[in-house]
Subunit: 130 residues, 2 copies
């Protein structure tokens, strides 16, 4: 059994901040934990506009606090992000996040992230960096 | 892209209540969604004492609100459950949850739950009911 605390993870090397200061992510579970997925508590800063497409991962995001939107670039549709909303990128969807009030969300990645990835020019993570 | 709302899931057949009135679980993502994991927002009722062991699944649980504890029956250790705490059952750990104030938590299961499982006599889910 693994037991971890968000405050402890945020104070550790498992808390990753984006280079352009749009988000940070506390990696609560990583590939090395052997769960078959990784689990992150991510903060998206107010004012951020972030385009992402995870070509090598499925990701689900559950919004716990804050306000923003997600635009699906496949069809242009925009969905409000507010507490209780979940989106799941089941088609490796190219998308834009727009953050109005700082969002905190719970994210699951399959396959699990190792913790050393950085977003590439497509806003994607590589397939495996181990 | 899948977009769902907790209130909508709670009002649907994807909201499962335990027979003994100790928990309910809103299945935000299930096996059929093809993400390779399932994702549930689960409520554990105040006063509940629940013994579980998922012999066929890995589960992680992130506590969003409430207060309680988890006891690891392999070594007897007890850990406080409060907002920000995550536990991960990486060894199919036999455990007891004790709920002091109603807990709401975000749960990920690998392999994904199909939504039709019920806990068996061990507090486990079957390997696959499809």
């Amino acid at each position: 059994m693994i037991v971890r605390n968000l405050a402890g993870i945020r104070a550790s090397e498992c808390n990753i901040k984006s280079e352009n200061n749009t988000w940070e992510s506390a990696r609560m579970l990583l590939k090395k934990d052997g769960m078959g997925f990784s689990f992150h508590i991510t903060t998206l800063y107010a004012g951020a506009k972030i385009q992402l497409q995870y070509l090598n991962h499925f990701e689900s995001v559950f919004v716990m606090s804050g306000l923003g939107s997600i635009q699906n670039l496949a069809n242009g549709e925009t969905h409000v992000l507010e507490p209780g909303v979940m989106y799941a990128l089941d088609k490796h969807d190219d998308h834009i996040l727009r953050i109005e009030k700082e969002i905190t969300c719970a994210c699951t990645f399959n396959p699990p992230v190792s913790g050393r990835e950085v977003h590439d020019e497509n806003g994607s993570y590589p397939a495996d960096v181990d």
